[in-house]
Symmetry: C2
Subunit: 713 residues, 2 copies
């Protein structure tokens, strides 16, 4: 590989006390930026080593002194107590049973926001029938109905910043636990403005203030029992933004009040994977406006000091909503996404605005990684880990430009892992090469536009919330991972956006997920107009691809409202006495690694079964007017399934497959203005490939994990 790819676009973590190592690796990796991390500092020598300096700030923590004087400004959350059986008319409910008590303390001044529920009947217990006891930290209910279960929704302060809590507990830290501020309060805003101003003055060497991230963490409610340590975890719920002040401001802005039960929701809460009610969406936008407006104030301070402001797109990202209009008003100069997967590259790249788009690669330089597996310690193989993450990331990098990559963590842990150091050097070169091609050329795309229809639309473009390994069973995250490396335009549509005009440019519309999920759409499918518009669109030539329980909602003549288009429906037992069409299988080369879904049945004899498992249709196709419906019982990412998905998406639309390989393990991208074909081998072994080009076929081999360039006009 040419020497021109040896330097730049690479951010490394530095570590005081390891100045020699830091500078040696900076040289090896071609770093142009050095950063500090949670737990590491940069010495004077490193700050002045000729690299730009990123300084990490977690704006809402590290203010314990202020918080100890103003505990009422801590962040809060609604919790539901355990449910207690009424064996007599007086029921006493301890608030924190089952919760990790170091995370929470009750907000005793918030009782007017609490609610007590008969969880047997779903009815609220009148305020006069219960009282809170400060001393016992419990609620006593009077006049309970015998043999019903009761619980209390109450407001608790979160007295330990969750990421700090996690690192503390995981690594048995001895440091002082960090508390967190809620910037919803004007007093906190004033304090933070001051604090940041002082910070900027005291850090002239900092080029980029890297916010990690903004104000509100993803929801992470801990339990008291090691058999169930994390009671609720969602990357994109808004539960951690709640405070009495927020509720009051919301009520005055929207003209109606949110209650504790809107958030507790019978104990189900509101994970972003389940379609939200309008109230919750109102609250999202309300919070988004606040988060972005106060973030702008902070960024303005940073800019006043001639520094840039980047934001880390993780952890305390809630309310930021990078796809929102408000985000654009903040004025961030860069956004940094940590990535395990291809879809996260697209997620980062899709953030609009003239920002620097930077990826933080994995593994993080830490003794242990995912699920406690060893990384930079005995038994770990960080070089192989890095390769495996990289090949996922690289597929997506072929399709979309990214400005920078980098690492994070504790640099000296790389000692003893020279393979890893070499691998990173190689990855950095590959990255620069691909970035260079994007600079010199567009990348060839197949003339096929894919739409993804979800409750969220663009707001959750290229994500289902969180990393792939958090919810690997969601069909859509698997589809996104496949699409991340495919040469299509992809557009994300919400149900409001299902209009004839918006659909006009879409060739294939995908709706994928389990019933009720925000990915399938849940109650949005009660809108007849959606069904009608899509039916007309397919009839005119569109392809509607449904996966798992697409368009599923109860109360209609089909369980899947798009069943007439898809040609399949999903029985919930009500058709136990109906006959089922025998599932014949058409001659088809399609062989997805796919499981049957119980209950899937053909609505009549017109639906073609492209693949079947145990007499259940798992892939079907049905002509509908000039268009077609396609059904898949599930979708799981793999190179082979991606290959098959491609043929499903293009079938009947794309006649000639150009610039793609015949080998699912090798992806190909063509940069016409650079006259270059890029082949990337996602497997550890050498692969042979045929690549179809306009005037024939190129046959070649690509080494394991390698990136190969072929000149081609």
């Amino acid at each position: 590989m040419s020497d021109m790819y040896n330097y730049g676009s690479f951010t490394m973590p530095g570590e005081s006390g390891y100045e020699v190592l830091t500078l040696q690796l900076a040289q090896k990796w071609g770093s142009d930026v050095i950063r500090d991390c949670d737990g590491t500092k940069l010495s004077e020598q490193l700050l002045s080593a000729g690299m730009d300096v990123y300084s990490t700030i977690c704006i809402i923590r590290e203010h314990n002194t202020f918080i100890n004087n103003h505990p009422q400004y801590q962040q809060q959350v609604f919790l539901e107590s355990e449910r207690v059986l009424a064996t007599n008319q007086d029921v006493s409910i301890a608030l924190f049973n089952g919760y990790f008590t170091r995370q929470f303390s009750v907000n005793k001044d918030s009782v007017s926001y609490w609610q007590v529920f008969d969880r047997t009947t779903n009815c609220e217990v009148p305020r006069n029938n219960w009282s809170y006891s400060d001393e016992t930290n419990s609620v006593r209910i009077h006049g309970a109905v015998l043999w019903h279960h009761y619980s209390v929704n109450f407001l608790a302060f979160r007295i330990w910043e969750e990421i700090n809590m996690y690192n503390h507990v995981t690594n048995s830290w001895e440091k002082e636990p960090l508390k967190q501020l809620d910037p919803r309060y004007p007093e906190v805003q004033a304090y933070l403005r001051n604090w940041l101003t002082t910070w900027c003055e005291e850090h002239p060497e900092t080029d980029v203030v890297r916010f990690t991230s903004l104000f509100y963490n993803f929801v992470w409610i801990w339990g008291s029992d090691e058999r169930n340590p994390f009671l609720f975890t969602d990357w994109a719920s808004y539960d951690f933004t709640i405070s009495p002040l927020a509720l009051e401001q919301f009520a005055s802005e929207y003209g109606y009040r949110l209650t504790s039960e809107d958030f507790i929701n019978q104990g189900y809460r509101n994970p972003n994977h389940i379609t939200w009610k309008q109230k919750l969406m109102d609250y999202l936008w309300f919070t988004n406006r606040f988060v972005c407006s106060f973030a702008k104030e902070l960024v303005d301070i940073v800019h006043r000091y001639g520094k840039k402001a980047y934001v880390f797109y993780d952890d305390s990202w809630v309310g930021m909503e990078p796809q929102s209009e408000a985000f654009g008003t903040i004025g961030f100069d860069g956004i940094i996404k940590c990535v395990f997967s291809g879809f996260e590259v697209r997620l980062c790249s899709a953030v609009p605005g003239k920002l620097t788009h930077e990826l933080r690669l994995h593994p993080y330089l830490f003794p242990v990684g995912l699920g406690g597996a060893p990384t930079f310690k005995e038994g770990g193989n960080p070089s192989l880990d890095a390769q495996k993450y990289w090949v996922q990331v690289r597929r997506a990098l072929l399709r979309t430009p990214i400005d920078r990559i980098g690492l994070g963590g504790i640099l000296h842990l790389t000692e003893g892992f020279p393979d890893f150091v070499d691998t990173i050097a190689d990855i950095a070169k590959q990255f620069r090469m691909i970035k260079d091609l994007h600079t010199r050329s567009s990348v060839y795309k197949v003339n096929l536009k894919v739409g993804i229809l979800t409750s969220w639309g663009k707001l959750r473009a290229w994500t289902c919330g969180g990393h792939f390994h958090e919810h690997p069973d969601l069909d859509l995250i698997n589809i996104l991972e496949s699409l991340a490396g495919l040469p299509y335009d992809v557009e994300f549509l919400s149900f409001d956006e299902v209009t004839k005009d918006n659909l006009e440019t879409i060739d294939v519309l995908i709706n994928a997920g389990f019933a009720g999920s925000s990915w399938s759409g849940g109650d949005h499918w009660k809108d007849d107009k959606i069904v009608m518009t899509l039916t007309e669109w397919v009839h005119a030539g569109g392809t509607f691809v449904g996966v798992n329980e697409p368009s599923a909602v109860q109360g209609y003549a089909n369980n899947l409202r798009m069943a007439p288009v898809l040609g399949v429906d999903v029985d919930d037992g009500r058709r136990l006495c109906h006959g089922f069409w025998k599932v014949g299988e058409e001659a088809s080369k399609l062989r997805l690694d796919i499981r049957k879904k119980e209950g899937v049945y053909l609505i009549d004899g017109e639906t073609k079964v492209l693949q079947a498992v145990d007499d259940f249709a798992v892939v079907t196709q049905r002509s509908f007017g000039k268009g077609k419906g396609v059904y898949l019982s599930e979708y799981r990412y793999s190179p082979y399934n991606t290959f098959a998905l491609r043929s499903i998406l293009e079938q009947g639309i794309i006649q000639e497959n150009l610039f793609c390989t015949d080998n699912p393990l090798v992806d190909c991208a063509y940069f016409p203005e650079a006259k270059t074909l890029v082949l990337v081998n996602g497997s550890e072994e050498k692969q042979s490939v045929d690549v179809r080009i306009t005037n024939g076929m190129i046959t070649t081999e690509v080494e394991g994990f390698a990136t190969a360039l072929i000149s081609y006009e």
Copy 2:
């Protein structure tokens, strides 16, 4: 085996032209009754051979001449046409597309009972917007909404009696297809009274008129495509009882009208496995009263001629409802149930009244049996078939007295199967021996009363509708099959009967089935009082056993309303972001053959997991007050699972297991007044068993399939 068991209580089919064979087998089997069958007649010689004579009558068919003159009296059914997409405002819908047209003809005079639906919106199309064309046999809709789907609910005559149709088509019969009458019409009633009177006069040799069965067949709607020949089949739906007259009489009796859509129900119809709305239940009782009152008139005629009237409990049984009060008023002298399984023995035995309870064993003397497998033809092994059915039946015969057994079909087909003839002779002896024990003694029962809670209660005691092989995946039918041979009192409760008083005598209450099914209970679980009453009952010491999705209904704080008692709930995806309690497994000897159910989770750390599969709890137990909740993810009948079920039901209630074996393949019954233990081996191989008795243990062996008697005081 003693010679005393050589004769009686056995009904055989006779066959003209095979008089020698018939009499020889009568001798061999000890037959005291001879019968005719569909397709066979009895000659003078057979009628006067000293056996009582059963004559088979299917009262509503064999009247083609009358029907040809009065086609308006044929039976009917509501059908839904196919669903047609509106690509313009005029939509034409052919009525019979997809239906087997030899079964149906449109009732052109019934248009006022028809309805047209927009199946996209669930809205009815106003009557003015559609018209029926006699010539094209289609409905034309005007002013349709584009891209919606439409269908027509219409009333069709059923012009071929379904059992005759089945035999015709299956056996390529050449005979004239038989039509069927609807006795709802007074003119038909008059005709049938006359006809039966004449028949009785013409058949002095008949001792027992065996009605096969009454008026309305189980629902069986046929399709036109061999890939889906049976569109809807339910043993216990009332769709085949409908006529304009019935609808009018219902309206005047109940003060409200039933519509076609009450029966079509968005195309789902109303299988008896799904909880019925009150309207449908009203219609059931309305029909039951009519069926039983007219049946009584017919039985009275039979009695006037000094004959007895038996009814076959199958085929055209709808409306008869042997567990209804009205059934008792008919005055039948006997009821005959064909049996493959143990639960069917209990179903027959449970029919109240001083009737002869008779079983017709399988295999039926026919060339092919279940699913077209060979029986009395090359490749068949009817002797082994008979043994395998018999061991299922025999388990239940140990627990409840039955008066008679018998066979049906074409006798000469037994030629060439001497093993079969011997097997039947042996079965008949075993039967007489067990019957004799019941005559001389009570049978020992464990002091444990099991309640079965379903939407149907007693009305579907010992059945889920139809034979085991029709719906082998229903948990309850599997439980009933196990219970059929267990030494408990079993009571069937409907939700109306869940009262403190009724529960007092119940030790263990079982609720088993998928969500929405009539076996689980569906919307009945919306009644808070049910939940409260059961919660109190368990807290006071009861055991609530839930299987699959017990107490499941949507809209509450748990998906299973009894979750606090069971200690488990079933997630539908809404808890995707909740933590799940780690499933540890208690030391337990329990090893059911049982599959996991996705979504099942422990509600807290208090629930004991007795068995787990892939980290999913499949059997759990939870203390609740003085009682307990037990959950099973599914239940499938097998001797081994029955053995495990027994220990689950008795656990904590029964201290000492008396008169049961340690071998799941060998059942034991104790007849104290006869001082006899009976051991029955359900397997083909010899088995060793230990039987716990009051003062020790008996160790013995039982030959394959054999019944062994042991004297014991």
